[in-house]
Symmetry: C3
Amino acid sequence: MKNTKSTLSGKFYSADIISLDQFDPVTLKKLFSLVPKMASIAKNAQPSKLLSGKIVTLLFYEPSSRTFASFAGAIKQLGGETIDILNPLQFSSVSKGENFEDTIRVFEAYCDAIIIRHPEIGTAKKAALIAASVPIINAGDGNGEHPTQALLDLYTIYEKYKKLDGLTGVMAGDPLNSRTIHSLIKGLSLYKNNTIYLLSPKELRLNRDDFNSYTEKGVKLIEIYSEKEIPKNANFWYWTRVQKERFKDKKTYEKVKDSFYLTSNLIKNFAGKDTILMDPLPRVGNIDMSVDQDPRALYLRNQIRNGMYVRMALLSLILNKK
Amino acid sequence: MKNTKSTLSGKFYSADIISLDQFDPVTLKKLFSLVPKMASIAKNAQPSKLLSGKIVTLLFYEPSSRTFASFAGAIKQLGGETIDILNPLQFSSVSKGENFEDTIRVFEAYCDAIIIRHPEIGTAKKAALIAASVPIINAGDGNGEHPTQALLDLYTIYEKYKKLDGLTGVMAGDPLNSRTIHSLIKGLSLYKNNTIYLLSPKELRLNRDDFNSYTEKGVKLIEIYSEKEIPKNANFWYWTRVQKERFKDKKTYEKVKDSFYLTSNLIKNFAGKDTILMDPLPRVGNIDMSVDQDPRALYLRNQIRNGMYVRMALLSLILNKK
Amino acid sequence: MKNTKSTLSGKFYSADIISLDQFDPVTLKKLFSLVPKMASIAKNAQPSKLLSGKIVTLLFYEPSSRTFASFAGAIKQLGGETIDILNPLQFSSVSKGENFEDTIRVFEAYCDAIIIRHPEIGTAKKAALIAASVPIINAGDGNGEHPTQALLDLYTIYEKYKKLDGLTGVMAGDPLNSRTIHSLIKGLSLYKNNTIYLLSPKELRLNRDDFNSYTEKGVKLIEIYSEKEIPKNANFWYWTRVQKERFKDKKTYEKVKDSFYLTSNLIKNFAGKDTILMDPLPRVGNIDMSVDQDPRALYLRNQIRNGMYVRMALLSLILNKK
């Protein structure tokens, strides 16, 4: 039996990882303190045995090859093994009409943990309530959460500044709909004195309930609608994409779109020498390729690597009883 | 070269596993004696090295994620590795017109065993006749056999009663068409003094040839057509589903279907305190979810776990030359 | 950072393997000298640790289960692990519009090498120019190259004759279009005094540019159009298929096709006792099944096994820094 279904604070053993809400500064500090060790394991020629003898099922109900590869890499870097179940709706008994409860109970019998990706919100939690003997890790449940993405974003900022309080950041794109923006605001609201500039078209600003809820937690949110309002020398820029499809009126899109395209010129004008440039990826028309060469651009460097390292740290905490 | 293509009795080394017919009580006893050790390996944090250095190809011509995961888990629990080839008709040279003989001879060159799943009856045997150097294991060949499913069913009964003779069981559903019912009758007919009540609509009872052939082997078969005829205190119930599609006359289906839906009430009225409740899964409309809580219900517990343990035992015998 | 993007001659460390052009006789000798050791590792019950702790991504943009299985087997025989990414155009962020550059940079962060298969010529080289930290291995890029196929063909000849110069060979089929024929001619042209008879319909002979270019390198090419012109006692026959689709005039095809179907009778009349019979596979209507029993037929024996052994040798050189 799993020994906890509840909040993680301070205890990771055999725990489900469903939501960023399970984490607090103490837990995050503990988790992040392990990441450099994980990085050196990944770079080291010697194989790690932290997960040796452990088998993790990657149960992906929708394609996401980056998240899949990052988790698979994390498990194998630590000496564990995977059972890869891709598209079970198409390729399994699920297609014969099996209910979700039976599916989870079958797969948990074969492994030490299940990492689940699903297009529907709430599915990871549902799996966690079903699984009797192994932890469930949410690898993205549609419009719900993708907690390890949030953890890697937080760690990438932490890696640079060695703290997560007293920071100023810019988040560009689509605060209304972006799962990653919501998660990162939530994460930063666990710490004091953070200020976030939300750059978006008016149509895509946060809804007022979310705005108030985040603000009450203590994070300062400043909504801006043009790149000219970007503060100088922010600690980080988090640059998501604005989807044309969100606009009823395509003319409005054409008018505002340049504000949300990240160029070297914009960086020259507003970023400081330490401002780190982030993007949850995939990048599709939101960041100019010329920006990639900028040493401050971490989206194809630290963010990706940290994704694997943070997942390694998490798995080593969850699957290693001490 | 493989040193046997023949019946397994007493020798497992480098052998193909195509049919339950290869097994006799001596072989089964040997196999089952290893299962508890396999269970403790699977639960143990320490990795096993029984299959270390062994590579097994999972060649699945049709989707079956449970069987796939169970075999993959079994191999990896023992320290072996897999090469996963899913849907080769769609994703391989087979689609370029390669014949089956060449496909098998190519794959056998890369591994120590091939586990094959195929929609057509006889394919596993065909593969075994082709493969020159590695054992072939049948993971289901359409309306043919699925010997490891039969072995896990037999083991689940054996685990409870420490014997496979002198038992009384109920098998409900579709004796005419169910591959798993046929296999389990076959398996139990290897032992003495077994009585099986076959509960089914008249339309779906065994054909007379099969009935006579099983009866001649010594198992006693009693056909019943209503749940009211279920004997009290049977040793096991094996509850498969009745497919509406089998009935020409849908009214007949509506009339009889309640006899074949397993409920807590039915259990209360006819089962004994030791009667174990089994189902080969997937369950689709044949067992009420409330039954899952019953400690006698083994379909989502022992049966699934035993599936992996029995496969581990079989692989360790086949792939470990002593 | 990778320490070379250039020709391999004499140094393999952290190198991309994109084309047969990277190889010279010194490099090939070094590579081939490792193959027998790899064969004994594959046959040995003891697992190898040459790649332990190494993770290799198999990034297959088109199906090729033989090449996939051969590489996966090679990696696992050496104690390494794989991340399998099949059909990313269908099952990944690529489908969301991610550019190829980002895809490669993401995947390289999780592993120690990427083996790429792609339907478009030039893609492996493109990947090699992008990847900043891991070697790229070309597993076939459409009409481009498939260097490890060429290496296994060369090794299979070398294994028999212990040399790659002074040989006479027959290559049948489609010299105009066959990637494998081109590669093998290229490989043999690195050595002195080789003579190749190219047996094909006139419509499918080499184009004059290729003919001249190979001839200038020193290999002697003799074009023949009927099986009656096959020289006696050649060292090897390399028998590819002629596709009916290549002929505008189907009557011409019917007239010539028998010249390009390999039978036991043809072998009896023209082959010597040491002539080895090769085919890059899949075989589709170009070699009679009765030929398989001939001990000189290596296409379902040495060629396949050598494919895995040569890949093992290559990976052990590339991924083991000394």
